[in-house]
Amino acid sequence: VGAGNAADPPVAFRASLAGNWRRGREWGGGMYTIDPKRTDLALEFKRNVWGPHSAELQRVLNRMRWEPLKGKFVLVCTKPHAEWKLAELPGERGKPVKVHEDVVFTDLEAAEWEIFKRRWKRITGQDLKVD
């Protein structure tokens, strides 16, 4: 924005900014929010874990996958190419990785679905109930 200063932008620029702000309000003020009623998106993921996914499900996944490193769900491989356990990163190297010893997977699709459900709860505050 070469012309004018930030306090007094050209009219056209101001108008375009206003457009962005309006749209931002429609989205709920910025960050995409997962609507807990959209269990159809969860079902889409369950049926097709590896994608490609609908644009709306992709947004849900982007929100979930941008999980902070502290407490981030990961998988720890316990038998090469055969068995994995759910784990959480401590967020700082040198601290132990928290392994959920009782949450064991023998295929990665089931693991992805479990992480999806847990993140759904973390983000929406509601249990994901789908068939």
Partner: protein, 738 residues
């Protein structure tokens, strides 16, 4: 649980030469060692298969196990001899990066646990602290009383006067724009009647603890920068401290100077130089980062060679590591007649195994084949013990699937003493610019993830399956020997990902092509980052992720020039040598969920490349299969670009398509980001396969995809990726000029 760790002292050896393997057995249990030749390290289900053979050696036997520790953390040691000092001043410019982490040594002649000598520290309150002790129980400490700010420069000084027993500690915050009261000036009267003389060296960025046997250990490492440390033989007035910070000091001050270290001298080296007549030079341990800006960097100069006085700082890290320095557990001579190739010493106990991986070349002055496989040892070194998946919030977003940690990853995560890769950040958030292989190299081994070394064994596996004899030449050889390392070979074939290239390597390959050499670049994201090897130290490379590129961190402003050579680091493209000029294509895309396939272009019908497509239909999808994401076009993709130097006569013979949402243009291809840079929405997301002839009757063939080699073994090597590659190898080995 990992109980065995191993690494070799060398990566490239010839028959008759000695190799030493360092092993740590964490539980001290014995282990078995065997020399193996690796054809393929891919142990994944549906992959090319784990194929190794044991090579007879007297070293193949059981060994007693012994635990060997890793002592990470960089520091400087000055052995002396130091004169008797009744009174002292210590001073330096200091920029702490983790002032709140707890005790950190800055500089001093001080030893624990005797508390002997004098030193400046950061204490467990995050403040500067001066300590003096006679080593017989009398100790005085003086704390500045002002918690330090991270990433701000201070001038700090501490003095002790024996006559008056005065202790004085001063700090001055150098920032001109922060409205902060960061200065301090505190005094006290000491109980200590005389300074002790520790039995350890003068040290910087650590606190030394005396051992029973006259040795010492280094701990409490400092994170941050130190510049212009000084040692004087009396207490100094504030204006004297300011004057001594520069060099040379005023004549009246000269008699007081005991040592005046200038880190701007010989930045590529590992010595710290004392400008005083006393010559109290020291040595750096564990490669702290040099060629970093000092407190007075103006922003006008970006090349440290032009203004070393602005680069008189060293950035120390408590997690720097150059050489684990273990004692050799297994020593062997490479057997005469050993076939060239990828090798390892495999060590195993009841519950674990590890590999010390290396390469065997033919006897000196001989070749055993017209084809050389160029093992990307520079790239393997850059990736050693990468922690990116567990350290970068974007990792899962890039993979499109949950991050999977194998036992190696968990061990590395929980044991920071193993150091980092050039993809990681130090604990203080600053970039890891040096990558070393002189430590257990978890992921430079067979049976690991299909990346870097292990993915390249898809190439050696395929060469052996098709009966193409080859010698191995490593990046380290190419760097050290130049053109001579590859000149005897009619053709050179790369691995899947020859990403890191030093200037001598680049020049050697350019010279090779100019004289009729043939190059098969069977990968993607190649010839991307410019790196430097160290002039004295083996096994370590430097990378500065400057301005642009697909980066995991960005070099600090003013720190784009490498300390090892002074060369501008970063992308070869930004240096003015895009890979397109060398191999016809350059990186455009990265993506890590699923791979795709190629289709032939109109140009593939050109008679010049008829040899390449023998047995391949005009409409066939090429490589819609493979162990890496299910296709031959995947992971990191290159494409032609005449504006970047793709030769005008180059033929784009195939192009990939149908890439996913997770395939994204690299920053240097997007400039001003927008949402449609992914494979679903952007037609620039593709790989291009290129062929062109070179002067002297040679030629270049480039696939432009890291996943390519992962498709070679599909259906017992009977597939169109294998066929096409084989067509190229046969023609490239044919002496008939192109």
């Amino acid at each position: 649980v990992k109980t065995l760790f191993a690494y070799p002292d060398r990566v490239s050896v010839r028959p008759g030469e000695r190799l030493r393997v360092m092993v740590s057995s964490e539980d001290e249990s014995p282990f078995d060692a065997e020399l193996i030749r690796i054809r393929c390290g891919d142990s994944s289900p549906g992959g090319a298969g784990y194929k190794v053979e044991t090579v007879a050696s007297r070293a193949n036997r059981r060994y007693p196990g012994r635990r060997q520790a890793i002592a990470a953390g960089s520091h400087a040691l000055v052995p002396g001899p130091f004169p008797d000092l009744a009174s002292v001043t210590l001073q330096a410019f200091v920029m702490p990066t983790t002032p709140a982490k707890g005790w950190q040594g800055l500089l001093g002649w001080w030893s624990e646990p005797t508390e002997c000598g004098f030193g400046l520290f950061i204490d467990d309150h995050g403040e500067f602290l001066l300590a003096v002790g006679d080593g017989k129980g009398a100790v005085d400490v003086l704390r500045a009383g002002k918690p330090l700010l991270a990433r701000q420069w201070y001038l700090v000084s501490g003095g002790y006067d024996r006559e008056s027993r005065a202790l004085v500690l001063r700090q001055r915050l150098l920032s001109e724009h922060l409205r902060l009261d960061g200065d301090a000036h505190v005094t006290a009267t000491a109980g200590t009647a005389a300074l002790g003389r520790p039995a350890v060296p003068f040290s910087m960025a650590t606190i030394l603890t005396e051992g029973k046997d006259g040795g010492f250990t280094a701990g409490a490492h400092f994170n941050g920068r130190i510049e212009a440390p000084r040692l004087a033989n009396r207490t100094l007035a504030p204006e004297e401290i300011e004057a001594l910070a520069a060099w040379p000091p005023p004549p009246a001050l000269a008699p007081a100077v005991v040592a005046a270290w200038d880190f701007g001298i010989d930045i590529p080296g590992i010595r710290v130089h004392d400008r005083s007549p006393n010559g109290l030079h020291g040595t750096l341990v564990n490669l702290p980062t040099r060629a970093v800006t000092g407190h007075a960097w103006t922003g006008e100069v970006h090349d440290w060679r032009l203004a070393p006085e602005q680069y008189g700082a060293i950035h120390f890290h408590d997690d720097d590591l150059y050489d684990a320095g273990w004692e050799a557990s297994v020593e062997l001579t490479i057997p005469d007649g050993a076939r060239g190739g990828c090798y390892a010493v495999r060590v195993a106990n009841a519950g674990d195994e590890s590999f010390a991986t290396f390469f065997v070349r033919p006897p000196k002055g001989r070749t055993t084949a017209p084809l050389a496989f160029l093992a990307s040892t520079a790239t393997y070194t850059a990736y050693v013990d990468i922690q990116w998946g567990a350290q970068n919030q974007a990792a899962e977003m890039r993979m499109g699937s949950a991050t999977i940690l194998d036992p190696d990853d968990v061990t590395l995560y929980e044991h920071p003493e193993h150091g980092w890769s050039a993809y990681d950040l130090h604990r203080d958030g600053s970039p890891v610019v040096y990558a070393t292989r002189l430590r257990p190299c978890f992921n430079w081994a067979p049976k690991t993830g299909l990346w870097s070394f292990n993915a390249d064994t898809h190439v050696t596996d395929w060469l052996e399956a098709k009966g193409h004899a080859y010698d191995v030449v490593t990046d380290d050889d190419l760097h050290a020997e130049g053109l001579a390392a590859i000149a005897p070979y009619r053709a050179v074939v790369t691995g899947a990902h020859p990403e890191y290239w030093s200037t001598p390597m680049w020049r050697a390959m350019t010279a090779y092509l100019r004289r009729g050499g043939r190059l098969m670049y069977l990968g993607g994201n190649g010839f991307y980052w410019r790196i430097a090897y160290h002039r004295e130290l083996p096994g370590v490379i430097e990378v500065r992720r400057a301005e642009t590129g697909a980066r995991y961190w960005a070099a600090e402003p003013g720190e784009y020039h490498m300390s090892f050579t002074g060369e501008l680091g970063g992308l070869w493209r930004r240096v003015g040598c895009p890979p397109n000029r060398l191999v016809g294509i350059g990186t455009v895309v990265t993506g890590f969920d699923r791979s795709s396939y190629y289709r032939r272009t109109e140009a593939s019908r050109d008679p010049r490349v008829a040899f390449m497509f023998e047995g391949i239909g005009a409409e066939e999808r090429i490589g819609d299969f493979g162990i890496l994401g299910g296709g031959a076009a995947g992971l990191e993709l290159d494409a032609a670009d005449p504006a970047l130097g793709t030769p005008p006569h180059a033929l784009v013979v195939a192009r990939s398509e149908a890439h996913s949402y997770y395939y994204l243009l690299v920053p240097e291809e997007t400039l001003f980001h927008h949402p449609a840079i992914n494979g679903l929405e952007c037609d620039a997301v593709r790989a291009e396969m290129v062929f062109f002839e070179t002067p002297g009757g040679g030629a270049v063939f480039s696939t432009g995809s890291i996943a390519w080699a992962g498709s070679l073994a599909h259906q017992g090597y009977a597939n169109n990726v294998s066929r096409l590659t084989d067509n190229v190898v046969r023609r490239f080995l044919d002496p008939e000029p192109f």
